[in-house]
């Protein structure tokens, strides 16, 4: 079965703290992996994506994620969060049809 599991439902950090959001997936084939973000009152938007090649991918606003095939993981990281990073984050996989399968989401709250 195709699925995405995010480790944390709600994370609270202080500004300048480091962030790591865990994501594991289950899929029997070649996957494309994404992190989408939804800032308060805004649309879902792409943060970063992995299709192939270098397993360490960099996205917008200083975010990065590492694809570890042996662990079926695609964790999101940022060395120093800002108040403006407060948002909901979704780990997403896509197979060969383009259909997106979303994790349940992690709400990140950054305290100033």
């Amino acid at each position: 079965a195709q699925s995405v599991s995010q480790h944390n439902h709600h994370v609270i950090l202080s500004e300048a703290a480091s962030l790591e959001l865990g994501c594991n997936y289950s899929y029997g084939g070649t996957v494309n992996l994404f992190w989408y973000v939804q800032y308060p009152g805004q649309h879902l938007q792409l943060l970063l994506k992995y299709f192939s090649g270098d397993p360490l991918v960099k996205g917008i606003k200083g975010f990065e994620a590492e694809f570890i095939k042996s662990k079926f993981s695609f964790n999101l990281r940022k060395p120093s969060v800002q108040w403006s990073d407060t948002a909901e984050y979704f780990c997403v996989l896509s197979g060969n049809t383009g259909k997106l399968i979303f994790g349940q989401g992690t709400t990140l709250q950054v305290k100033p």
Binding site: H43, L46, G98, L100
Partner: protein, 112 residues
Amino acid sequence: EAGVAQSPRYKIIEKRQSVAFWCNPISGHATLYWYQQILGQGPKLLIQFQNNGVVDDSQLPKDRFSAERLKGVDSTLKIQPAKLEDSAVYLCASSIPHYEQYFGPGTRLTVT
């Protein structure tokens, strides 16, 4: 470029009533998706169109939900009759095939 447009933004109906949502994708995007996002969960694909043909509707409750994409551009999603468990945000997304999906603002449906 203009983004994905959806209307209405909010809708409140009573159970057993019908409702329709409209989506206008980004110009030139052949692929259009409808997702359902229930509170606390990630979006779930309901139906995927390629131009005006259906690619995947495996998770569309066809006894009450229907969708069409006439002329391969705008799309409508209809629920008839609505149930309490249909309360959710309905998201429309569009893409060039196999590329990033762009999401609209969504329609928040409340069924009372």
